[in-house]
């Protein structure tokens, strides 16, 4: 399980995870019929729907949505939701769509990942879609999104920095446990390697993390937040940076505290045992990955030094901390956030590393097992799953061909480095636009000096009879044949020959040495004319030994590469294997030099350069190819006859090149000079030693590249120091020179086009509508206005965001559905703006303190913000109006001017009986009277009154009749009127028994006299209403034989409506409820 799970998780981390939080209106339903519920989630990742975290994400469906469906949008993109119809039924590949209230599943074609061989992972039971529990993949411990801060641990006088991360673990459905992981860290903590686990504090029942205010210190706004962490064993003080990041962190921790709900089990923290274990085992990377078991005690050794080492979690921790840090920075610098490219670069992380994933695992290894799953999976199934996941990962990588727009997409995430690279590559592509070819003269010379020191002037070789070249490339072989040179790499000859060459360069010009590189006896010198020095750049030199053991430097090659103006040039000097018959060895040496010679690039992220990746290659040296098939005398005779052409036919280099064994694509000039090997030193005589070597053209110069003209290729007989003669060649080489003006233009063009591309790839959408008017909004009557978001060409995430200082993205009576989501290019989504005024929002709309007016901010991730304005008018209603206001309204509420309603609604509640202030009031609200009277007339014997739900449509009719004063036309079922009465009482901003009297009532519940006393203290209108209602209920009880009502039923219904806890909507404790019922009951059985 471990491996399959982890690599599966790793795959998940690569993909974006969006959760569509079901945000259904908490709607008062007239009909408390069983609410349709469906699974609701939106996830990305192979079989992501199996994750435990989705297991209990249930949403209530809209009335017209009778289906639950699961849609597989792509192989890694799933959505489950309520649905009005089964889209999958229309012969598409969508799969199972289930009629929610129907017990018979009607799965479409199974295009889902079916669990291995078994039934669908999703099954229908109890009327809705569930995920089979045993198929769930539990979410491993994970860092709660972005919840980490850097703080200072204060112990006495010591101050130590710690990273605090909140980690969540869900051992089973609906259960979660948290722990605070404290980490030490080195320096600024850039990577996961800088972080090591210090200790873990389980968020247990006795855990508290609270802000403290040090004694005697003035609280300064913006100063660090001091918090105290307390558990049974621990007491730690931290200082956390001021700011919203810390604030959210503390809130998140507070939310993680298990609280004292007796129903939830005590957290056990079994999952922490692996971190707590003190016994250290040798760390083994990739330990027992095949066996799939979880050793009792392994992690300590690994976690300690390298939690998150190279893994995603360390990075996530740091990222979370950095997010906080930069935020703080923002505040301190007051927005002067300079995003230096280097700093941004260090923060960039591999997007596959999980930066976008919702939850990140704390081990950072991608090898983590849920203990509960230990041993459940057999190793073989593990392996197959692991392999599968791996191959899929590769597929993903392969299929993610980067298109231009993708690049720009990444760019907009401010990947500065990538942008640089793109500018560079565009510059290379457009090189011809801003460069022209200019010829420069190159001198190339090679000389095998046979271990001798310079004894004669080198000018005949280097500068006689030519114009001063622009560049000198001078190579030597057998510079030093001593053991010291071979073993210690040190020789005085280097300096001697360097001096000799420097002194013999062309006298008409001044030269600068660019580079000297030597491998034992193989040396290469590069000089440039002084005036060209500024145009030489990116000089790199390397050596490759191919001698003894294939590595030593007695044979091999050295090379210098550089950029001259805009042309890249590589000069190679090689000394290949000796002896006539060893041409295969020479071929091999050549190939080895080609493959092993690698130059670092300025940008370390780029792969190293090889010889072949240059515009111009000049290859010189003692290549050691001989003349074969001819005896020495014949060779010498042909030389005497200057029949070089004939002789050349027997040259091994010629035949090997012709056979394409070596030097492919290279050119060599015609050999018009006699072989340069082997002479008696100090003479022009052929070798007279015992070996009597046959003459050979050992010393050669070849080239490759465009715009190269060889002007001369010759040997220099005048030099007699060695048993070789030096060879030289002069070239005119066409070099790409930059026209500064054109270059700047091209660069500007490229930058402009990149800017343009980047701008085109800022997410952008079009909205079908931006202003919404809701006309004549009525109490508890849903109005929906919809619009569509049409996405442009860039995939984007949209979300309605909170305006500053507001807790929600819109007013309480409004809801956008969905309020966030993900849009593929060119796709559309319909958003519904649902306006629903309920009891909590009605009063302020009646009073005019609130208006149907709002601006919603639709934000695109990394993109722009759109403002949507919502307006409308609300029709005041008796529902939501205070009792005393209604008592003064002699007219139907809708017949009154808004101003009058406003004034009356805002009028304070009088506790004294000073109704005399305003004459012409009624004793109770006429609307209440109308409803009660209707029930009294029609429903006194109605069975199950107040217990059967009414109809929504009838409620709307009743509301309109009450608000327009047309009750004579009222025709509704008794149950609807009864429910309207209950709603009326429920929506009173001040309950019939005022909040202030609530506790008194509970206290004297059971004592009728005291209870009556409390009632008598109520404001007159409230007291009237109470008396009136009790009278009515007593009337009902008189008919209990018919209507089956009894005191307990009525007391329990009316108890919670007339007596409401001032603290608000909290669930009442049973004892409190009972007391409220008892209080009401007294009045039902006792006449006043």
């Amino acid at each position: 399980m471990s491996v399959a799970n982890s690599s599966h998780r790793a795959a998940l981390l690569r993909v974006l995870l969006i959760l569509l939080v079901a945000q259904n209106l908490a709607r008062c339903q007239l009909t408390p019929a069983p609410v349709q519920i469906c699974h609701s989630f939106h996830c990305f990742g192979e079989m992501c729907y199996q994750e435990a975290e989705f297991a209990n994400q249930i949403a209530e469906c809209e009335p017209e949505e009778h289906h639950c469906e699961l849609i597989q949008l792509t192989t890694v993109h799933y959505m489950a939701r309520c649905s009005p119809r089964c889209e999958g039924e229309i012969g598409t590949s969508y799969s199972p769509c289930l009629l929610a209230n129907n017990s018979a599943p009607s799965p479409g074609p199974c295009s889902l990942q079916c669990c291995s061989g078994g039934p669908l992972c999703l099954v229908l039971s109890l009327g809705h879609l569930t995920i089979q529990e045993d198929k769930l993949v539990l979410t491993p411990p994970a860092l709660v999104r972005n919840q980490a801060v850097q703080g200072v641990l204060c112990e006495g006088d010591s101050r130590q920095s710690r990273l605090l991360g909140l980690v969540r673990y869900r051992p089973e459905r609906g259960v979660q446990e948290h722990a605070l992981f404290l980490y030490n860290h080195r320096r600024m903590a850039i990577t996961g390697d800088d972080v090591s686990l210090d200790q873990i504090v389980p968020v247990s029942r006795d855990f508290t993390l609270e802000e403290v205010f040090p004694d005697g210190e003035l609280y300064i706004l913006g100063s660090d937040v001091t918090v105290q962490l307390d558990t049974a064993e621990l007491n730690l003080i931290f200082q956390l940076p001021f700011g919203s990041h810390t604030r959210t962190f503390l809130q998140e921790v507070a939310r993680a505290c298990p609280g004292f709900n007796p129903e939830t089990p005590d957290p056990e923290f079994l999952w922490l045992s692996r971190y707590k274990c003190t016994e250290q085992k040798p760390s083994q990377r990739g330990w027992n990955s095949a066996s799939g078991t979880w050793p009792e005690c392994t992690r300590k050794g690994e976690d300690q030094p390298s939690i998150g080492g190279g893994g995603s979690w360390g990075g996530a921790l740091l990222e979370a901390v950095q997010a906080g840090r930069s935020e703080r920075c923002d505040e301190e610098l007051e927005g002067a956030d300079w995003e230096m490219s280097a700093a941004a670069g260090s923060r960039e992380r591999d997007p596959a590393g999980g930066s976008q994933s919702d939850d990140l695992r704390p081990d950072g290894k991608g090898l983590l097992v849920d203990q509960s799953f230990r041993g459940q999976d057999k190793p073989d199934s593990l392996l197959t799953r692991q392999n599968k996941s791996k191959s899929e990962i590769t597929d993903m990588v392969r299929s993610s061909t980067i298109t231009v727009s993708d690049k720009a997409h990444i760019l907009s995430m401010q990947k500065f480095g990538l942008r640089d690279t793109m500018v560079k590559s565009h510059l290379v592509q457009k090189e011809e636009d801003y460069t022209y070819i200019q010829n420069f003269r190159f001198f190339v010379g090679t000389y095998n000096v046979n271990g001798q020191s310079p004894k004669e002037c080198l000018q005949p070789w280097l500068s006689h009879g030519i114009q001063a070249p622009d560049i000198y490339c001078v190579g030597f072989q057998e510079l030093d044949l001593s053991k010291e040179a071979f073993f210690f790499h040190d020789t005085p000859k280097e300096e001697e020959w360097f001096k000799a060459v420097s002194e013999s360069l062309h006298p008409d010009a001044k030269y600068a040495k660019v580079k000297l590189i030597r491998l034992v006896g193989i040396m290469l010198l590069l000089y440039v004319k002084q005036e060209h020095a500024a145009h030489i750049s990116e000089v790199e030199a390397e050596t490759v030994g191919t001698g003894i053991m294939g590595r030593m430097g007695n044979k091999g090659g050295v090379a210098i590469r550089f950029q001259f103006h805009n042309t890249s040039i590589c000069v190679v000097n090689s000394h290949l294997a000796a002896h006539t018959e060893e041409y295969e060895r020479r071929n091999q040496d050549y190939k080895d030099i080609c493959s092993r010679m690698q130059f670092c690039q300025v940008d370390p992220s780029l792969p190293p350069l090889t010889i072949s990746k240059h515009d111009v290659i000049l290859w010189l040296g003692d290549l050691n190819y001989r003349i074969e098939e001819l005896d020495v005398e014949k060779v010498k005779k042909l030389i005497e006859e200057k029949a070089f052409h004939t002789l050349y036919a027997y040259d091994q280099l010629k035949t090997q090149v012709a056979a394409k064994a070596i030097f492919e694509g290279f050119t060599e000039g015609e050999l018009t000079f006699q072989p340069t090997y082997k002479y008696d030193a100090g003479s022009d005589e052929w070798d007279t030693s015992e070996k009597c070597r046959a003459p050979a053209w050992c010393d050669r110069i070849l080239w490759k590249g465009k715009n190269i003209t060889q002007l001369s290729y010759q040997s220099h007989m005048a030099l007699k120091t060695s048993d070789h003669k030096p060879v030289s060649s002069v070239f005119d080489i066409g070099v790409k020179v930059i026209n500064e003006e054109l270059y700047r233009k091209t660069l500007e063009e490229i930058v402009r086009s990149l800017d343009k591309m980047e701008n085109a790839n800022i997410p952008s959408v079009s909205l079908s509508k931006r202003e919404f008017f809701f006309q004549n909004v009525k109490y508890m009557q849903l109005q929906v206005e919809s619009f569509t978001i049409h996405n442009g060409q860039v995939p984007c995430q949209f979300e309605f965001i909170n305006k500053p200082d507001e807790e929600s993205y819109c007013k309480q009576w409004l809801n956008a559905n969905p309020s966030r989501g993900f849009l593929l290019p060119d796709s559309t989504i319909k958003i519904e703006l649902e306006l629903f005024v309920n009891k909590t929002t009605a009063t302020k709309l009646n009073s005019g303190e609130d208006k149907i007016e709002d601006i919603l901010v639709l934000h695109l991730d990394r993109g722009k913000d759109y403002f949507l304005s919502v307006s409308g008018n609300y029709l005041p209603s008796c529902f939501g109006s205070p009792i005393h206001t209604l008592c003064y309204l002699k007219e139907p509420i809708l017949d009154l001017p808004l101003k009058a309603i406003r004034e009356l609604t805002l009028m304070p509640l009088q506790t004294e009986d000073d109704g005399s202030q305003l004459k012409n009031h009624m004793d109770i609200p006429k609307e209440l009277w109308m409803m009660v009277d209707y029930l009294y007339q029609n429903a006194i014997q109605q069975e199950d009154l107040f217990q059967q739900p009414g109809l929504r449509s009838e409620f709307e009719h009743i509301r309109d009749c009450l608000d327009t004063g047309t009750t004579d036309t009222l025709s509704a079922s008794n149950h609807s009127v009864a429910e309207a009465l209950l709603l009326f009482l429920e929506s009173l901003p001040e309950p019939v028994i005022c909040y202030s009297a609530y506790h008194n009532c509970l206290e004297c519940s059971g004592n009728y006299t005291a209870s009556k006393q409390v009632i008598s203290t109520l404001p007159t209108f409230h007291k009237n209403v109470f008396d009136y209602l009790m009278k009515f209920l007593r009337e009902l009880l008189k008919n209990s034989a018919k209507n089956h009502l009894d005191g307990n039923i009525l007391a329990s219904i009316f108890g919670s409506l007339l007596l409401r806890n001032p603290a608000g909507h909290q669930k009442l404790e049973i004892a409190e409820k009972k007391k409220a019922q008892e209080f009401i009951r007294q009045f039902l059985y006792n006449s006043p």
Binding site: E334, D420, K424, S502, A541, N759
Partner: protein, 212 residues
């Protein structure tokens, strides 16, 4: 190769609805001009890379809704800006009068040290002019701002004003900038001609250069 740019910061366009903020932005970033007016309802931005003073600067320019009813929201974007364009329309006295209100909003909501520049746009509509050039200059002087009359239509002073504000922001952040500068000049240093880093101990390197 030297970096293509070194710093990034945000500039913000504010001013009454219809003074041409979006047009200024379009002209500057895309060299386009559309004479029809479509109200920006929201907040938009575009990127642009320019070179100022030898430093490649990436600027993110935010274009805001000018309509009054959105101002409580758009104000919240001020704090993220390092430079602000206050734009009026030379053919609208009203938009000019409102600059005072915009300035006080900036003072209240923008970070301290934010750089401001005054823009009188639509300079091509000479026949409809209601605000004199000297009035603009006077106002700019009062607030200690630079002033440009621009025309997105005829591309007058567009590049100049954006570059000027960028310069001002750069100057205001001189300190941070010096660090950037040093690095930039190092990067542009000429090729190392004589240095052979791989063998610093070799006797040959004692005479580093050979000017023959």
């Amino acid at each position: 190769m030297a970096k293509q740019y070194d710093v990034l910061f945000r500039l913000l366009l504010i001013g009454d609805s219809g003074v041409g903020k979006t047009c200024l932005l379009c002209r500057f970033t895309d060299n386009e001009f559309h004479s029809s007016h479509i109200s920006t309802i929201g907040v938009d931005f575009k990127m642009k890379t320019i070179e100022v003073d030898g430093i490649k600067v990436r600027i993110q320019i935010w274009d805001t809704a000018g309509q009054e009813r959105y101002q409580t929201i758009t104000k919240q974007y001020y704090r993220r800006a390092q430079g602000i364009f206050l734009v009026y329309d030379i053919s609208s006295e009203r938009s000019y009068q409102h600059i005072m209100k915009w300035v006080s909003d900036v003072d209240e909501y923008a970070p301290e040290g934010v750089q401001k520049i005054l823009i009188g746009n639509k300079a091509d509509e000479e026949q409809k002019r209601q605000v004199g050039r000297e009035q603009g200059q006077q106002l700019a002087k009062e607030y200690g701002m630079d002033f440009y009359e621009t025309s997105a239509c005829t591309n007058l002073n567009i590049k100049e004003s954006f570059t000027r504000l960028t310069e001002l922001v750069l100057q205001a952040h001189r300190k941070e900038l010096d660090g950037v500068r040093t690095r930039a000049s190092n990067e542009m240093a000429l090729a190392e001609l004589e240095e052979d880093e791989s063998k610093p101990e070799g006797p040959a390197n004692s005479s580093k250069t050979c000017w023959c």
